[in-house]
């Protein structure tokens, strides 16, 4: 029930390779973070795994009931309220009608939006929209959960809160979670493994396992964060040189 | 001649017009117009004064009246009904009838099963147009026969009637030529009533020549030439042989792009119609009364409707 990528390549019409022969095995129940420079192909990778894009080379194996996906932009339906947006996911996941109102309330409270269920997306702030999208992704209740920078628009406090919620949800349900982030600390704090992508084309540059030990030891975590940042910076430099030459 | 009765500012005689804009239909009942145009009578008569001719082809009376009212045309061949309507509703200021053109040529054609007028009870009959000449004729005929409530009158366009008849939706229709003949020749109808039989002397107007009052006042000479050409065409029609008439009319229709009816229909139609330059002024009051009696249009004074001064001169 994991995800298997085998030499997967992707290009858009008129672009060069965006992802180049990327292989990876993601086990069932793993919590994976994906790091990489802006525009390196992280969202494209999630789109491949969600089945929204087909690879232009290689193949991948995903659970055939698909994956829950929290998009980079919140992608709420503007004619539905926050609650109704979550409800739609529950309905399409086949939840019985009677259970739904209670679940909607629970999910919105989880993302600190219990009071905003009746608001339309255009009446919400950017961070509130992102949290509704998070609630909707959780409502889908699939084994695989893909998240594209789920906390980018949130303040540190709310983010901390949601980190905890997500960790405990993962521990309780054993979901396979693949999430894209720009925040190295966030990656270390949450995930069990970090994939670092290179850009132009996107390949796996580095894979790091995060042990519980490392997570608990601030010094080790900080060192890893510095190391990963250095890797990313080196990659970006290399790229700048290639570009300007 | 009656004095011009006003209208769009009365103007004195301004001599021959530079152009005469004449409207008519591409239709057998407008044969004098077709012949006058095709045989060059109009060009000859008008050309003497340097007047040029512009013709305009209409499909229906109301459109021709609208054009006449707007000054888009100066004179037109028309059925008497639209002419009367326009004269009455304008309070006698719009147009005058300056000559007759055709008479006769309207019949009630029905399915073969209906052989007597009494069998009409419970049928559905069509006419070409609500309030048109034939519509009024049928309604007042039914009224005279006491069948007003027993027959449904269905105004439909000339083109629709054959379709309705062919699919059995109607049992007959009161139609002008060549549509009556078309039903007889191609759709198996038969002539139950010839309208001519209902009129004293068997004569009733089918097509008249009208001109706007303003044009008559400004260009009496041109009007006279028009009436002369009309008379010349009528004389030719009455003198020519059957074959010659048929060929002339078919080719004139074809030139206007309308020559799609078979010879049989056209010649049958020609037998029904006669051509005459007298406007049959005596019948107009009857027509108005018929219409008013069946609740269409209004009564009013027909004083000054017919201006026969030109016919008189033309005959001379």
């Amino acid at each position: 029930m994991g995800v298997l990528l085998n030499e997967v390549s992707l290009s858009y019409p008129g672009t060069g390779l965006v992802i180049d022969r990327l292989s990876a095995q993601i086990e069932d129940g793993e919590f994976i973070a994906v790091l990489g420079a802006s525009g390196c192909g992280k969202s494209s990778l999630l789109n491949l795994i969600a089945g929204l894009l087909a690879p232009t080379g290689g193949w991948l194996e995903v659970p055939d009931d698909g994956a829950a996906f929290m998009f980079q932009d919140s992608n709420l339906l503007p004619w539905l309220t926050a609650g109704e947006n979550v409800d739609l996911a529950l309905k399409l996941a086949g939840q019985p009608k009677a259970d739904r109102p209670a679940r909607i309330t629970r999910l919105l409270e989880l993302v600190q939006l219990g009071h905003a269920a009746h608001k339309k997306p255009h009446e919400l702030s950017g961070g509130m929209r992102q949290r509704v999208a998070l609630a909707r992704a959780l409502a889908q209740d699939r084994q695989v959960l893909l998240m594209d920078e789920p906390f980018a628009a949130l303040d540190a406090i709310t983010r901390d809160l949601l980190h905890e919620q997500l960790r405990s949800l993962w521990e309780q349900t054993g979901k396979t979670i693949i999430f894209v982030t720009h925040n190295v600390r966030e990656a270390i704090r949450l995930s069990g493994r970090i994939l670092v992508l290179s850009s132009h084309p996107g390949r796996i540059l580095e894979t790091r396992r995060i042990t519980e030990d490392l997570r608990r030891t601030p010094a080790l975590a900080a060192a890893l964060a510095d190391e990963l940042t250095a890797i990313l910076r080196k990659e970006q430099r290399k790229h700048e040189r290639t570009n300007s030459s | 001649a009656p004095a011009p009765a006003g209208g769009l500012g009365t103007a004195a005689d301004q001599g021959p017009a530079a152009t005469l804009r004449l409207g008519y239909f591409a239709n057998v009942t407008h044969a004098p117009a077709l012949v006058a145009d095709a045989n060059g009578y109009l060009d000859d008569a008008l050309g003497a004064d340097g007047t040029t001719l512009e013709t305009q082809i209409f499909a229906a009376g109301p459109a021709a009246i609208e054009a006449l009212n707007s000054g888009a045309i100066d004179a037109a061949y028309l059925g008497p009904s639209p002419a009367l309507n326009s004269y009455l509703s304008s309070g006698g200021t719009s147009l005058r009838i300056i000559a007759g053109a055709a008479s006769g040529g309207a019949s009630l054609v029905t399915t073969k099963q209906i052989t007597q007028v009494s069998q009409l009870a419970g049928t559905e009959l069509a006419t070409p147009q609500y309030g048109g000449t034939q519509d009024v004729a049928l309604r007042s005929f039914l009224r005279d026969q006491g069948l007003s409530d027993a027959v449904t009158v269905t105004p439909s366009s000339n083109g629709t009637v054959p379709q309705l008849f062919a699919r059995g939706s109607i049992d007959g229709a009161w139609l002008p030529e060549p549509h009556a003949s078309l039903l007889v020749e191609k759709y198996g109808a038969h002539r139950l009533v010839d309208e001519a039989d209902l009129w004293p002397g068997g004569r009733f107007p089918t097509t008249v020549l009208v001109a706007s009052q303003e044009f008559i006042a400004k260009h009496p000479d041109t009007v006279r030439e028009l009436v002369q050409a009309n008379a010349q065409a009528v004389r030719w029609l009455n003198a020519a042989g059957q074959r010659e008439t048929l060929d002339t009319i078919q080719s004139a229709l074809a030139a206007l792009g309308s020559g799609t009816l078979p010879d049989a229909v056209i010649s049958s139609a020609l037998e029904q119609v006669s051509f005459d330059t007298t406007p049959l002024a005596g019948t107009f009051a009857t027509l108005v009364n018929h219409a008013a009696a069946v609740g269409i249009g209004e009564r009013g004074s027909l004083e000054g409707l017919v201006d026969d001064s030109f016919t008189a001169k033309a005959e001379r």
Binding site: N47, A50, G51, L52, D65, G66, A68, F69, F71, D73, N75, L77, P78, W79, L88, A89, K91, L92, A93, K120, P121, H122, E123, Q140 | G7, L8, G9, P62, I65, E66, N69, S70, P82, N85, S86, S89, S90, G91, T93, S94, Q129, Y130, G131, G132, T152, V153, T154, P155, S156, S157, G159, T160, Q163, L164, A166, R167, S169, I170, I296, G297
Partner: protein, 285 residues
């Protein structure tokens, strides 16, 4: 360049409130003022015009016609007949056109094959259908409805299709991710997302329906058929009765304005509000 100065921004609330209140009143008063202005212009034109009164009747002459038509009930019954036909026909057209448009949207080959034909059918004048309809149905309501439906359906199909074409791609991605079946995708995402464009299409479809009805009523009259507004209009032309023609035109305009003010405008307003937009010329909230 001169140094820019400071601007002071003050509350817009009292003004906005006033505006909002005025906005509501405007929605009623503006059309009435328009009406008064137009009628006055018409009366002035009628006085000033050199045309004979029967060719260019003024408001008074037209108004004088009204009691007569009201008295014999022919006007009201004609309006009732036409309105009933138009509304029921339009409803049928919507019921046929909506699934047809969805079918075209979801079957690429069908859309390639029939799409251009649908657009072409929109261009075909209604009277073109009349001979065929009469041969099939004679002088019956079926003929009238056929002509009306053939006029309205292509337009509604095209309206819904362009509404669907303009749906952002991300909504389709969402509905795939949420695991929506085709039916669920259509009902929960595609139709609501296409709704604003669809309503614009419906408004045009209504116009086509009504005009086609008028065309049908010009030709199919009499017999067992009830007299409609279109027949009344044609009668006015046949009898060279311009006051009657004008009266019928005014009645049609009135019906059009009422349908717009009572149906389409509120519907559109609601849809746009739901999505956080406003019709231009209306105050937010």
């Amino acid at each position: 360049m001169s140094a820019p100065t400071q601007a002071r921004i003050r509350p817009a609330v009292p003004a906005a409130l006033a505006l909002r209140r005025r906005g509501r009143a405007d929605a009623v008063i503006a059309p009435i003022i328009t009406l008064i202005v137009l009628v006055s212009l018409w009366q002035i034109a009628a006085w000033a015009s050199p045309l004979r009164e029967d060719l260019f009747p003024g408001p008074a002459a037209v108004a004088a016609k009204l009691p007569e038509l009201l008295a014999d009930g022919s006007l009201l019954s004609a309006v009732g007949t036409s309105l009933f036909r138009a509304l029921s026909g339009f409803a049928i057209a919507v019921l046929i056109a909506t699934p047809a448009a969805l079918l075209l949207a979801h079957l690429p080959l069908l859309r390639k094959g029939l799409g251009p034909l649908v657009s072409a059918m929109q261009v075909l004048p209604s009277i073109a259908w009349v001979p065929a309809a009469i041969i099939l149905f004679g002088l019956s309501d079926a003929t009238i409805y056929t002509v009306l439906l053939l006029g309205a359906i292509p337009s509604i199909i095209n309206g819904l299709l362009s509404g669907i074409d303009m749906i952002p791609a991300q909504y389709s991605a969402l509905s795939r991710v949420l695991g929506a079946g085709k039916r669920q995708h259509i009902l929960s995402v595609q139709l609501p997302a296409a709704l604003p464009g669809y309503v614009a299409g419906l408004r045009q479809g209504w116009a086509f329906a009504w005009r086609s009805l008028m065309a049908a009523e010009l030709i199919a009259v009499g017999g067992s058929l009830a007299l409609g507004v279109g027949s009344l209009l044609q009668r006015g032309r046949d009898l060279a009765d311009l006051p009657l023609v004008m009266l019928v035109i005014l009645v049609i305009l009135l019906v059009g304005v009422l349908i717009e003010l009572l149906c389409f405008a509120p519907l559109e307003r609601k849809l746009l509000r739901d999505r956080g937009m406003t019709r231009t010329g209306e105050n937010h909230a």
